[in-house]
């Protein structure tokens, strides 16, 4: 059985987005963990599907709802604070 190990990182300098490079690395880890959480949720959901008598349409709706909830969760932890700051500032500017 042949094993192929592909190159994992792209050639070329990776840009820095934060003053402290540790934050760049930390964000990558958070997103990788979020991805694994989603994979686990999908596995749990698959078990529910196997044991459920619900229709395909109901289960599809459930998946869509789970996906929306999941992204709200990710957004809350990862981007919402920055968004709130901008929206508050926008509201303030408009009120003036």
């Amino acid at each position: 059985m042949m094993t192929v190990n592909m190159q994992k990182a792209a050639r070329g300098k990776r840009p820095k987005y934060f003053d402290d490079e540790a934050i760049d690395r930390c964000l990558s880890m958070v997103m990788a963990l979020a991805q694994e959480v989603w994979v686990m949720r999908e596995r749990c959901r698959a078990r529910v599907v196997w044991t459920s008598a619900a229709s395909y349409a109901t289960l599809s709706k459930l998946r869509m709802s789970e996906m929306a909830t999941f992204w709200n969760w990710v957004s809350f932890w990862v981007v919402r604070r920055a968004w709130f700051d901008l929206k508050e500032l926008d509201a303030l500017a408009r009120s003036q």
């Binding site: 990182a9 792209a10 869509m64």
Partner: protein, 398 residues
């Protein structure tokens, strides 16, 4: 979220890597991540620009940013923009890895399928001695580890397979089940503007895995169709894919700057998102080679995203320019400043025939889910493609 975009699954063919459920979940995550960034996070950049960056720039410079370079200067230290950029870069890196996993697992099978390809519709000619251009070796374009060219095993097709699946994830299914929207859209343009045009020989530069290639085989079934690329792994994959789908294409490993085709070999030369992956010097050579290869009156059409000069708001050009600095696309900016008319004049084409058009995407089904903007990670989001090209004068001596 991703299910709202992919209206039907990617169409299967003999060499398409198959994903296990966990691999599909990882790919779905990236697709939803990109869509979430495009729809829910990216609009914050405009807000940050209008509320913080532009007023600050105006205070220090006495005017609002006038072009995309000044917008970049204004946005350089904007926390929200840097945060979005970091997320965007991560989504790109995660996309490649998510697609690599299933390819690594099936590499042996995929290589075997390539080796067994013998449907006999088209051909494949590789040239192991072909020098790889520096613009491919220096960085891995669009952050794909190994680029199009790296071989991880004998007769390797791995990065062809990764690219095929990753494009589907990247554009969130909006380029059709065969990822062929760019080819379909260009064919639509040619058929509409030149209904009488019946090319007998067609050439595609930088064909990659052949996503945009196959629509021409359908549109002009009597034509002899050649497609070239510098990278063997994607060509092997393209050949196996085209054969599996029953299309007659002659693939060969060649550099578009200097091919081995005789003078005046083709009626039509096309490329799709090829120009921005070359270099300024290479494009000069490509234009010379195009002129040499076209028959008198022959047509060349390149598809790209729009040049910055066509964007009314410098902020939009700045967002489109993100790839230059963040996605290993060193010639992205230069290619978006190409002047088609100037190219025609410089290389002897018929200047009257030069055109620049915004061509609607061929796939209307994904229309409702587009963002209407060109932005990193949302390549097919705007629903239109920029086409530019020209004709070789018909009165050139043969």
């Amino acid at each position: 979220m991703c299910a709202q975009v992919a209206t039907e699954p990617q169409r299967n063919h003999a060499i398409l890597p198959q994903s296990l459920s966990e691999e599909t979940s990882r790919q779905d995550f990236v697709r939803a991540f990109k869509l979430h960034l495009a729809h829910n996070v990216a609009p914050g950049n405009r807000l940050a620009y209008e509320l913080h960056a532009a007023p600050e720039f105006e205070k220090s410079h006495g005017q609002r940013p006038a072009d995309y370079a000044q917008v970049r200067e204004a946005m350089r230290d904007e926390p929200f923009y840097n945060f979005w950029s970091a997320m965007q870069r991560n989504s790109q890196e995660m996309m490649w890895r998510a697609c690599q996993l299933s390819v690594e697992r099936q590499a042996e099978t995929l290589i075997q399928r390539y080796r067994e390809t013998d449907a006999g519709h088209g051909t494949l000619t590789l040239d192991p001695e072909l020098p790889l251009p520096n613009y491919h070796k220096a960085v891995d374009i669009h952050c794909m580890p190994g680029g199009y060219h790296t071989e991880f095993a004998p007769d390797d097709v791995a990065n062809g397979a990764v690219y095929d699946r990753a494009v589907w994830v990247y554009v969130m299914g909006r380029m059709g089940p065969l990822n062929d929207d760019m080819g379909q859209s260009t064919v639509n343009f040619i058929k509409t503007v030149h209904p009488e045009f019946r090319p007998s020989r067609i050439l595609e530069f930088g064909c990659g895995v052949g996503h945009s290639t196959l629509p021409y085989a359908d549109a002009y079934p009597d034509a002899e169709f050649h497609a070239i690329d510098v990278a063997a792994p994607v060509l092997r994959y393209a050949h196996a894919r085209a054969e599996s789908l029953g299309k007659a294409v002659h693939f060969s490993q060649q550099n578009a700057e200097a091919t081995n085709f005789p003078d005046q070999s083709f009626d039509l030369i096309v490329s799709h998102i090829f120009v921005h992956e070359t270099s300024h010097k290479a494009m000069q050579n490509v234009m010379r080679e195009t002129y040499r290869l076209l028959k008198p009156g022959g047509l060349v059409v390149h598809l790209e995203t729009p040049p910055y000069s066509q964007m009314k708001d410098p902020f939009d050009a700045f967002i489109l320019d993100w790839d230059t600095y963040n996605n290993n696309e060193p010639y992205w900016q230069g290619s978006h400043e190409i002047d088609a008319g100037e190219m025609a004049r410089e290389f002897g084409f018929d200047t009257e025939s030069t055109f620049e058009v915004m061509q609607p995407s061929a796939f209307e089904q994904a229309d409702a889910h587009r963002t209407r903007t060109f932005q990193g990670g949302d390549f097919a989001g705007a629903g239109v493609w920029y086409l530019w090209g020209m004709r070789k004068p018909a009165d050139v001596e043969v």
